[in-house]
């Protein structure tokens, strides 16, 4: 879908940085088929294929964009890392001799786990480099300040209930304050009885600087371990299991890297 429908945009007070979001309904049948053919896997149940969030450095037109196609393209299209639902073993035993079932759908990571960190458009060249020193970090101390939020948006990219075996969800939150901006792209997976997974990408900009800091953090924990922890905390488990913010501190960090892009 082209045009400006569903688009919101906001520019920093110094005119250097711009956030753009687009929120539209889920895709219709034909675009879903086209997208599926394009990336080669079945598409999640709720697919907000026209949605995106981008951060642009206006003077250089450098843009970091988070779109659905590229996020799904990072989902494994082979058996690599493929999960099985909790009842899969039971199924194998019961249905081993089911003659009618002649085909097995081509394997892919049906949990839609993605390590997507955004798509970079750098017409003037340059590339991401590893962050160095204590200064190149996402400054949570500054971001925690109650500065006025001049622009806020939350945008869903896709969601799937995994045939009611849990939830897989990719969404993005973004907020712009007078001096800085923060974007959080979060992939959240809860596979009931199996695993909890959170993959966060944070994009942080001080408007006065010509620098983008991007941190990717992957966390994971076995479902039973989290359930045990929730019991210990006397949390309402059904509610907590739907709240990624509550679950995040209970997971093990398995990857954490910070990169920097210097714009011209």
């Amino acid at each position: 879908m082209a045009g400006t429908t569903g688009i919101s945009t906001h520019t920093s007070p110094n005119g250097a940085w711009r956030i753009t979001t687009r929120k539209l309904p889920i895709l219709k049948a034909d675009p879903i088929e086209a997208l599926s053919n394009d990336i080669g896997i079945p598409i999640p149940e709720m697919i907000f294929g026209d949605n995106f969030v981008s951060v642009t450095h206006i003077p250089s037109q450098w843009t970091l964009e988070f779109n659905v196609r590229d996020a799904l393209d990072r989902v494994s299209k082979t058996e690599q890392g493929m999960l099985q639902v909790a009842v899969a073993e039971e199924w194998k035993k019961e249905r081993a001799h089911q003659e009618e079932v002649k085909q097995v759908v081509k394997p892919f990571d049906w949990s839609y786990s993605t390590d997507y960190c955004g798509t970079t458009h750098a017409e003037k060249g340059g590339e991401w480099r590893d962050a160095v020193g204590e200064k190149e970090v996402v400054r949570t101390d500054l971001l925690a300040r109650q500065d006025p939020i001049q622009f806020f948006d939350a945008v869903d990219l896709y969601e799937d209930e995994l045939a009611d075996n849990g939830i897989a969800l990719l969404n993005i939150k973004v907020r712009m304050m007078p001096e800085r901006l923060l974007l959080l792209s979060r992939f959240f997976l809860r596979l009931d009885g199996v695993v909890i997974r959170i993959r966060d990408t944070r994009v942080y900009v001080e408007h006065a600087e010509k620098k983008v800091v991007r941190q990717y953090t992957a966390k994971e924990e076995e479902y039973d371990v989290v359930q045990e922890k929730l019991r210990g905390m006397r949390e309402n488990a059904p509610e907590a299991f739907r709240d990624a913010n509550k679950l995040a501190p209970m997971l093990r960090t398995i990857e954490d890297r910070t990169e920097v892009f210097e714009v011209s």
Binding site: L24, P25, I26, L27, K28, A29, E45, M46, M82, Q84, V85, V87, A88, E89, E90, W91, K92, E94, R95, Q98, E100, V101, K102, Q103, V104, V105, K106, P107, F108, W110, T140, L143, A144, Q146, I149, F152, A154, D156, E161, L162, A163, D164, N165, G166, K173, R175, L182, L184, D192, N236, P238, E239, F241, R242
Partner: protein
Amino acid sequence: MPGLPASVDLDECIARLYRKELLADSVIEAICAKTKELLMKESNVVHIQSPVTVVGDIHGQFFDMIEIFKIGGYCPDTNYLFLGDYVDRGLFSIETISLLVCLKLRYPQRVHLIRGNHESRGVTQSYGFYTECSRKYGNPAVWHHFTDMFDYLSLSCVIDDKIFCVHGGLSPSIHSIDQIKIIDRFREIPHEGPMADLVWSDPDSERDEFSLSPRGAGYTFGAQVVKKFLEVNSMTHILRAHQLCNEGYMVMFDDRLSTVWSAPNYCYRCGNLASVLEVGPGGERKWNVFDAAPENEAHRLEQQNQQQHAGNDPVRDYFL
């Protein structure tokens, strides 16, 4: 069959529920017990006659269900067949299922309810209905009443001996309708087997036969499976729900199968249309497509105002 307690006036319950008022938990208990008795006598395959309006997933979107009655006619002027997934996800699962159950009790021959995969203890604990019951009634007793009653819901319906209606789809263990009739359905939906398949499986236009999902559980079924099932059972069409469609419905396999979806703007954010299927006296099918009810937006703004007063303004979401 013993009647409802004298204190329970069904017409009054229905009037209150149309106004989105909750019933007392003792009333819910009595109504669920009575519904069980009624459902117990239904076959796993209920035979009904046209005209009937068929409704897909509602998922607790109460205002949108009322919209269906506004566009399709109220009970008992219009006959209804609901294909399951009444609860979870939406904000008003209790009000939705309470009204449907009261209508079923009041007009048992004009309202038919079959079971969806969300009419289960397991699924409702993860997707909202359990939490809603605990929150609105202060304890999960009402959830127990409803989920115990769900065990009695029938699994399928046949309209005019021609249209097979089910929540999910077909099963590799079921070739003829008679095989559905012998399932022991009075139980929680099992993880596998024909009863699970009927409420879970999905059609797949790219394949001919049954396929196992890469998840390790769950089937999809293809064009040849549908064709054969219809031939064996002398039927013309399969009508099912279970899958979100942006246009509100989807017709597949040379008009041999259709999906009806009745939750517009699903989860209050998908922006999709919804539909009901009106099966006319001659068996002709007409899609009645509708959009989200305007009451949803009014309710959302009201909630937002309350949140802002409580200091939970989304514009002040200092996420890190």
